[in-house]
């Protein structure tokens, strides 16, 4: 029988998502358990992503499992020209589950078709990163108490941001209204807006964060990168418009929380960190519980 993998958030039904989120809450209550004793998990990072890798390794270690793997392809057999096919066919003999990050899009789906053990996609190029989306959902659920009838404000690079696209697709399963705040050049692509329209969900677009900030239950910040602009002057004009400062938060909703996939550069001023509405570091911690829940679900251990 084909093992259950997690490649894309669309692989999960809404019921399965809800189940993973409530399991994550159980792990948050009781993060150190012996569930994975005797199990070995491979972390195959064909490109470095320290944060994601450490989060997975922490999740496995807290549950009594062991981790083997590599941290970038320079130190692995890939540099000797081994195909992904061969790497997966070899590694799946050694482990109970594979966590893989790879710069090539679709590599995770392909690995999941070959592997005899579950594969978790920890990012395949610009394509999918479903555990990030699940930890975002967990953070939203935990801080708001529900996923229904929320106003989500997505800020920054909405054109290329894989994270915001996945979050939009996932939150569109609930009754969500969206505000899109981005410079002209980095607006949300039409296909996503069409998707929301077809579902009858509301969205509003503006280049001005202050216009919509007080409506938000969640502000999801992303980085506006210089290299995304065809005209460098355009970047210089807008770069400060997408930085969040503490003084902008005074009239925001009391329960509002600020999320960010991290690492941040300067898009959230450090004066926000002390504000109770800043949630990005807790969000990272939630990633550990969420990944514990995902691993145990795929292994059929919970």
């Amino acid at each position: 029988m084909k093992p259950r993998s997690l490649v894309s958030i669309d692989d999960l039904t809404t019921g399965e998502i809800t189940k993973i989120l409530s399991l994550a809450a159980e792990f948050e209550e009781n993060p150190v358990q012996d569930i994975l004793r005797g199990k070995v998990v491979a972390t195959l990072f064909f490109e470095p992503s320290t944060r994601t890798r450490l989060s997975f390794e922490s999740a496995v270690n807290k549950l009594g499992g062991k981790v083997i793997g590599f941290t970038d392809s320079a130190s692995s057999s890939v540099t000797k020209g081994e195909t992904l096919n061969d790497t997966i066919r070899t590694v799946n003999n050694y482990v109970d589950l594979i966590v893989m990050r790879h710069p090539i899009e679709g590599s995770a789906r392909y690995a999941s078709e070959i592997s005899t053990v579950p594969v978790i996609n920890a990012g395949d190029g610009a394509n999918q990163h479903p555990t990030q989306t699940l930890l975002d959902l967990y953070s939203i659920l935990k801080t708001q108490g529900t996923l229904d009838n929320l106003n989500i404000c997505l800020v920054g690079d909405l054109k290329y941001g894989r994270t915001v696209h996945s979050l939009l697709m996932a939150m569109s399963r609930w009754k969500t209204s969206f505000n899109f705040v981005a410079p002209e050049e980095l607006m949300m692509p039409d296909e996503y807006k069409l998707y929301l329209r077809n579902l009858g969900l509301d969205y509003y677009e503006t280049p001005d964060l202050n216009e919509v900030i007080n409506m938000a239950d969640i502000i999801y910040m992303t980085r506006v990168q210089r290299e995304r602009f065809s005209d460098p002057m355009e970047y210089e004009k807008v770069k400060n418009a997408y930085v969040l400062h503490d003084h902008m938060l005074s009239d925001t909703k009391p329960g509002m929380k600020i999320l960010h996939p991290l690492p941040r550069v300067n898009e959230i001023s450090t004066d926000v960190d002390a504000n109770a509405k800043a949630y990005y570091f807790e969000q990272a911690l939630n990633g550990v519980y969420t990944r514990q829940a995902i691993i145990c679900t795929l292994l059929g251990l919970k």
Binding site: T83, I104, E105, G106, D124, G125
Partner: protein
């Protein structure tokens, strides 16, 4: 019913029994041959190309003696010849006419247009879900990007 003795049809010699595929765009004739693997079968095949057509500019026609296609096989050519019409011939008579329809999934014949897709790096059989039939748009099951009619390449 159109008669095979119609002078226009005689541009390419008639067959006793088999399949005539008409209204193929002249520009995609060789793609159709490739998709149907006609270069690998022993049947007698005749074809004509750059023929005048009232409706589709320059068209091509293929006649394959003694060959009858399953729907799933013939529908694969809809990607490059969406208006193709099939005449099934027995005893020099057209006994059935069929049109082609783009199937819901496309495996192994189209190339993913995304240069960063795994199918363009390793020996992976391409697989697509058809998200639009006219014009054709294919969603790669691997990288999840859309390959549209304009960028469609046959492997």
């Amino acid at each position: 019913m159109k008669n095979v003795n119609d002078p226009k049809q005689l541009l390419v010699s008639a067959i006793e029994s088999g399949t005539v595929i008409d209204h193929i765009p002249a520009s995609t004739l060789f793609k159709v041959i490739k998709i149907l693997r006609l270069d690998r079968i022993q049947n007698q095949i005749t074809f004509g190309t750059n023929l005048e057509s009232k409706t589709d500019g320059k068209k091509a026609i293929i006649k394959i003696a003694g060959k009858f296609f399953e729907d799933d096989d013939i529908n694969r050519i809809a990607l490059v010849a969406p208006n193709a019409k099939l005449n099934i011939i027995r005893d020099y008579k057209v006994i059935e006419k069929r049109v082609v329809e783009v199937p819901d999934t496309i495996n192994a014949i189209a190339k993913c247009m995304n240069p960063k897709c795994i199918t363009n790096f390793e020996k992976v059989t391409t697989r697509f879900r058809v998200v639009s039939k006219k014009p054709v748009a294919l969603k790669c099951l691997y990288c999840e990007k859309i390959t549209d009619q304009e960028r469609l390449e046959i492997i």
